[in-house]
């Protein structure tokens, strides 16, 4: 009898898992800086998403396999009329932090604000015919033409379609009131952002699943502390001052892997550095010249210079690494990590390149961008390019890249986005301004196909066109390094780290 009871109680613990975890604990999370805003609709910055995802929620989110899963919606939408009508049922009993109930009016008002203010929302707005509240717990979106990325855009946590009370639609945002597991208590810029548990929060049933599933606010408080200096963040992890330290230099890996106060958190793979070409104007407006850049580069040397330790990068020409449904080799063979100056020279001759400076815009805000640029410049010179490496601060770069007269290549990076349609360079209006009949055909086919089973093959076509026309060059995959206190339990490595379902070991 006793054995049976013991087994049953043990089973209960295993099944319920974190449900039984005691609440309590305060954690300090060191971030790379102060977020530029707490309005997640307005900004696409990762830092904004990392902080605000704890107090704002979207209708849908992504599970651990990057599949769309309901969050404020009761289920995945009913899609009818050939992919043009999305009927979304809302969860019952969801309340905002101000105590009011979430209804379809709030959702409609929030989505209208999103389509008006958010760059990703504007992408959707052009294709929305009607947005309406069918009843207090149902919303309907009617599109002009089928648009497959809609659900992913509604799920994303930056430039995010978060749901706020209809009477809190101020622009700029005055009072961040959401539905999330944590509430904003106080923000002291450059000192801390203090979140406290939302006692009224009702998590979904079951366990956490990526960003989806149950979001249990176990900790009493989460404090995001800006620590802009990367070396100080490392020391903060080693000293134990911070319980989680976001984004630390890979060089610090050896220092933190064998200590008691902190342990490394590696997100493998995290993202991809990319050289974006100005296809509208200047040297890179010519496809052969762009291909010459591609064939002249040694991605291996660039990644080694940028990340040093091979544990933190890998050579990979596919736009998505293995493990993603979007992984494909289409178009890659013979066009990645070639480093062949002779082939590049031949293409430059074909492009009638006259020695005009190739203006590469980069920033030391991200040191690995700069290191890659330095290596790339040498390979490009070998291929016959005249290189003008322009090192500016990030604010200047983001402004200059908006003017096609000012640059030929700019360097950036991105995490692996769950939906390829979210990749900025695929849009004709994104700096780079890639526009061609082949792009339109491939991207439109991909974006309008609502059958999930058919979309990977269509993405392979898009990747092939990217390799054929080279509007951008993916350099490889890289991993992200963070650090956490061994006392923290439940931390899941994620591109936008989150702290629901996380507890402090007593």
């Amino acid at each position: 009898m006793r054995i049976r009871e013991a087994l049953l109680s043990g089973l209960a613990i295993v099944v319920s898992g974190p449900v039984l975890a005691q609440t309590g604990g305060v954690i300090n999370v060191a971030t790379i800086g102060e977020p530029p805003t707490l309005d997640p609709m307005v900004s696409t910055a990762d830092l904004v998403g990392i902080v605000t995802q704890h107090f704002f929620e979207t209708l849908f989110t992504f599970d651990k396999d990057w599949k769309v899963t309901p969050l404020l919606a009761a289920s995945l939408p009913e899609v009818t009329d050939g992919g043009k009508v999305y009927t979304i049922k809302l969860r019952d009993g969801v309340t905002f932090h101000d105590g009011s109930d979430m209804t379809s009016d709030d959702v409609v008002a929030s989505l209208k604000r999103w389509m008006d203010q958010a760059s990703r929302g504007k992408q959707v707005a052009a294709n929305v015919d009607k947005l309406e509240a069918v009843d207090p717990s149902t919303v309907r979106i009617t599109l002009k033409t089928p648009y497959a990325p809609l659900l992913a855009l509604l799920s994303f946590n930056n430039s995010a379609a978060v749901i706020m009370p209809s009477e809190k639609m101020d622009v700029p945002m005055k009072d961040p009131v959401g539905t999330g597991p944590y509430k904003l208590k106080e923000r002291k810029p450059d000192q801390y952002i203090q979140l406290v548990r939302n006692e009224a929060y009702k998590p979904l049933d079951g366990a956490g699943n990526g960003y989806g599933g149950a979001r249990k606010p176990i900790l009493d408080e989460i404090r995001f502390v800006p620590v802009p200096d990367p070396n100080t963040r490392v020391e903060g992890a080693i000293s134990g001052q911070f319980d989680y330290v976001d984004s630390i230099p890979v060089e610090s890996y050896d220092r933190i892997k064998n200590i008691q106060t902190s342990k490394p958190v590696i997100l493998k793979p995290f993202g991809w550095p990319v050289f974006v070409m100005n296809t509208k104007q200047g040297v890179m407006a010519n496809t052969d010249a762009r291909m010459a850049v591609r064939l002249s580069l040694s991605m291996e040397d660039m990644l080694a210079a940028a990340f040093g330790n091979p544990e933190f990068y890998s050579l990979d020409g596919a736009m998505y690494p293995k493990g993603y449904v979007w992984n494909t080799d289409a178009g890659v063979e013979g066009r990645y990590n070639v480093a062949d100056p002779d082939k590049a020279k031949a293409l430059l001759k074909k492009a009638s390149y006259g020695g005009a400076p190739l203006r590469i815009l980069t920033s030391r805000q991200y040191e690995f961008h700069y290191k890659m640029a330095q290596v790339a410049a040498e390979y490009l010179k070998q291929a016959g390019f005249t290189v003008d490496l322009q090192v500016v601060d990030w604010a200047t770069l983001t402004q200059r890249r908006g003017d096609p007269a000012l640059w030929d290549i700019y360097i950036t990076h991105s995490p692996f986005l769950p939906e390829p349609a979210l990749i900025g360079q695929l849009s004709e209006s994104s700096p780079g301004w890639w526009s061609s009949p082949a792009r339109k055909k491939a991207v439109d086919a991909f974006n309008t196909e609502s059958d999930a089973a058919k979309r990977p093959a269509l993405w392979a076509e898009v990747q092939k066109v990217i390799y054929d026309e080279t509007p951008s060059i993916k350099i490889g995959d890289f991993n992200a390094l963070s650090a956490q206190s061994p006392k923290l339990e439940g931390v899941v490595p994620a591109p936008w780290p989150y702290f629901w379902n996380v507890s402090v070991k007593k």
């Binding site: 760059s119 450059d190 020391e235 000293s239 604010a395 200047t396 983001t398």
Partner: protein, 313 residues
């Protein structure tokens, strides 16, 4: 005297006007755009343009200047683009760490530099003097961020005596907040002490050979009294000047040190504002800093009156 003070005050206003105008023009002609920073990496050019319009940044420069100057005359430094609060409030929030950091740094610098400088001059050419001079040169050459990181590694990480970074969490008391300032103040104090030490030593060397010092000794006065009362008091003017200028520099924000230690002070605010192109904050902060700088200079001049009775305005 009152005429002199009035003249100085008018001069200060003129300096402030020039500073305000130059800063306004420089931040706007410098590349970079607050709208692009706020919207993030994936924003389109249209999004950036529409936010610029909302912020009033698409208006002609002269119109923007007129609005800014009108606000200034009403005592309003404008609203931060990113911090969601008035610039004056943002600056007031940063005043405490910067004030105490300045105070502690100057105290540390003074406590190191003045006695060592006096003794160095007194024992000129001795081993003590040579060691002190060499160490001063070393301290002057060390970048404060490097020294800061060394102090962090030893006192915060290895010994665990002080926090690595920040200025205390929610509800932190004054003692906790001040404990965050020990390492940065030490870092700045050591670096600043080099200059003060050299000025103290040089100034003391000048006066130690003066007739009145010899007279004091010949009267049979004790050496400590000769040095402290007769020599040091007369050597104080250049030392005060350099202490004042160092304090003014620190009040305006020990930019690098505040960034390394993650202190939410004026320097950190200015750096963040420059990186984000938060124009109202840059303008407001530099205006206040310029005012403090001018004011401290003015106060030092007034202090000369107390220290040296020969000074007359």
């Amino acid at each position: 005297m009152s005429r002199y003070i009035l003249q100085r005050l008018l001069g200060m206003l003129a300096v402030m006007f020039v500073v305000v105008t130059i800063v306004f023009i420089i931040v706007r002609i410098a590349p970079g755009d607050p709208a692009a920073v706020m919207l993030g990496p994936d924003a389109t050019a249209q999004d950036v343009a529409s936010l610029r319009a909302r912020l009033g940044l698409d208006r002609p420069l002269i119109v923007q200047y007129g609005i800014f100057f009108g606000q200034l005359l009403r005592g309003d430094l404008g609203e931060s683009i990113f911090l969601n609060r008035p610039v004056l409030t943002a600056l007031a929030e940063r005043a405490e760490p910067t004030f105490f950091l300045t105070l502690f740094s100057i105290l540390i610098a003074g406590l190191i530099a003045i006695p060592v400088g006096i003794l160095s001059a007194y024992w000129r050419g001795s081993l003590f003097d040579q060691v002190a001079t060499t160490l001063a040169m070393l301290a002057a050459s060390v970048p404060s961020f490097w020294l800061g990181l060394l102090l962090i590694q030893f006192f915060a990480v290895r010994l665990g005596l002080f926090p690595v970074s920040g200025y205390g969490g929610p509800g932190a008391g004054l003692f906790t907040r001040l404990s965050h300032l020990v390492l940065p103040a030490l870092s700045l104090g050591i670096v600043s002490s080099a200059l003060i030490l050299r000025f103290t030593r040089a100034s003391m060397l000048d006066v130690l050979n003066d007739d009145y010092v010899r007279t004091a000794r010949s009267k049979g006065m004790g050496e400590v009294r000769v040095v402290m009362k007769h020599a040091f008091k007369n050597a104080l003017i250049p030392v005060l000047t350099v202490i004042g200028l160092t304090a003014a520099l620190l009040v305006s924000g020990a930019v690098v040190t505040e960034t390394v230690f993650g202190l939410p002070g004026v320097g950190n605010l200015v750096v963040s504002a420059v990186l984000r192109r938060d124009y109202p904050v840059i303008q407001g902060a530099l205006l206040i800093v310029a005012a403090l700088y001018v004011l401290i200079n003015f106060l030092i001049d007034m202090l000369y009156l107390l220290v040296d009775p020969r000074v007359r305005y």
